[in-house]
């Protein structure tokens, strides 16, 4: 059902691989010995040198990040607020869901639900913290939608919980603010645009396949939005802030595209 794990980006990056430079030297020397392929490969090799070793230099990184920010704007324009993501029959739901975090599944730290509370901050009228019991008492809705990871894998999941827009209305949030930002028990953090927060298929999920979400997948509370990549769905949420300040996110601050809409 699940594919063989491939090298995951959801692990701390080991930094720049210096061996690539050495290997390139060998490649270029090798090319020099070849007649026919010389012209063909050297252009490619040159570009590869550029890419591999220059991505992390300040000037190139700054240009690439600016283009990524431009792509945020483009995706904002492409976003259709009332267009629903495809939904699927219950028979296609994968159980359990596939795990993803910036560390391995063995390293998750379960949240103690008795002492857990959801804190609210920013442009919200009623900032009274919420207990798990109070959240569970809210009206629930269910979506069976595709989860797509930035790595390239996907699965159909069945999520239920309170609609985020309804929750934000209930606590008197300023729905004209730009961002909704999340903090998590595992120090993960992230933020989404208000349009996505108000999308009908964006929920604060408490259940998976009609059962309480289990520890690895965000118990007791996680975000589930059908219009963004997996890493834009923070798990083990402890605080929600409505703000006009850009807060970035764990992966976004490491170079991944912020909007990451699908």
């Amino acid at each position: 059902m699940l594919k063989t794990p491939s090298p995951s980006i959801f692990r701390p990056a080991a930094g720049i691989d210096q061996s690539a430079l050495k290997e390139h030297k060998a490649l270029v020397e090798d090319i020099n010995r070849r007649g026919l392929l010389r012209g063909a490969v050297s252009l490619g090799a040159l570009t590869m040198l550029t890419g591999c070793n220059v991505t992390h230099t300040d000037a190139v990184q700054s240009v690439l990040r600016r283009i990524s920010q431009f792509n945020d704007k483009v995706q904002e324009l492409m976003f259709r607020p009332n267009h629903l993501a495809p939904t699927f029959p219950e028979s296609m739901v994968v159980k359990p869901p596939r795990f993803n975090a910036y560390y391995d599944i063995e390293d998750i730290a379960p949240v103690d639900v008795a002492s857990w509370k959801l804190e609210l901050a920013g442009k919200i009228e009623n900032k009274k913290p919420w207990s798990a019991q109070e959240i569970y008492a809210l009206p629930e809705e269910e979506w069976i939608v595709r989860h797509i990871c930035v790595e390239g894998w996907d699965y159909i999941g069945q999520w239920s919980g309170v609609n985020l827009k309804q929750f934000l209305q209930r606590v008197g949030a300023d729905l004209t603010a730009k961002y909704v930002s999340f903090k998590c028990a595992d120090d993960y953090y992230g933020s989404i645009d208000m349009a996505t927060a108000l999308h009908p298929q964006t929920i604060l999920a408490t259940k998976y396949a009609r059962e309480p979400i289990t520890d690895p997948f965000g118990f007791p509370l996680r975000l589930r939005t059908a219009t963004k990549l997996g890493f834009k769905n923070p798990k083990w949420i402890t605080a929600i802030e409505v703000t006009n300040e850009y807060r970035g996110g764990y992966w976004e601050d490491r170079g991944f595209n912020w909007f990451s809409g699908i």
Binding site: T4, L43, R146, I148, V150, G152, G255
Partner: protein, 215 residues
Amino acid sequence: MADITINSTDRHPARLHPLGLRIMHWVNALAMIVMIGSGWEIYNDEVIFGWLHFPHWMTIGGGAEGALQWHFAAMWLLMLNGICYLGYGLATGRFRRKLLPVWPGDVIATVRDALRFKLGHDDITHYNAVQKLLYIGIIAVIVVQVLSGFAVWKPVQLSELAALFGSFQGSRLVHFIGMALICGFLVIHVALALLVPKTIGAMITGGPAVGDDAH
């Protein structure tokens, strides 16, 4: 029209490959190499075929985040350049003059000549039937590649387009196959250009002067 052209004392006679076309060709080459190299790095994060990982030294981006940045930057270059190229080819009639018609009989004859090493390379201003077929084919593949790329990028916002490719993994597979076809074209295209080096010169300097009806 013909008289005016023939009698023209223009110091810059029409070349086989006009300047704009040459710029578009090399911009496309650069954008395509960046797209392929960064795409390989993105692919490596979740391989479609267990036996196929692209060696890190031949990818662009250093890691998934860098590769995605390169891919979604070169995407604009490739797309805008491609739109200019298609617009130019259609508006000037170059596609029609250079690439049409393609007769199956000519294709067979060209292949036969090539296998007997009887294919002439003296006149590079006219494409043979196999060249026409390959160029039409690669243009079509790149168009589909852009569409499947959009389906992978925006399977929800462009769900109508994505549905054409089946599932999300279906879009990924089509995008992968498109990449493989483009790489295959690239190998043949570059190998043949190296066999007849004056074609490379022509794509840099413009090549031989051609009459108005032939360029």
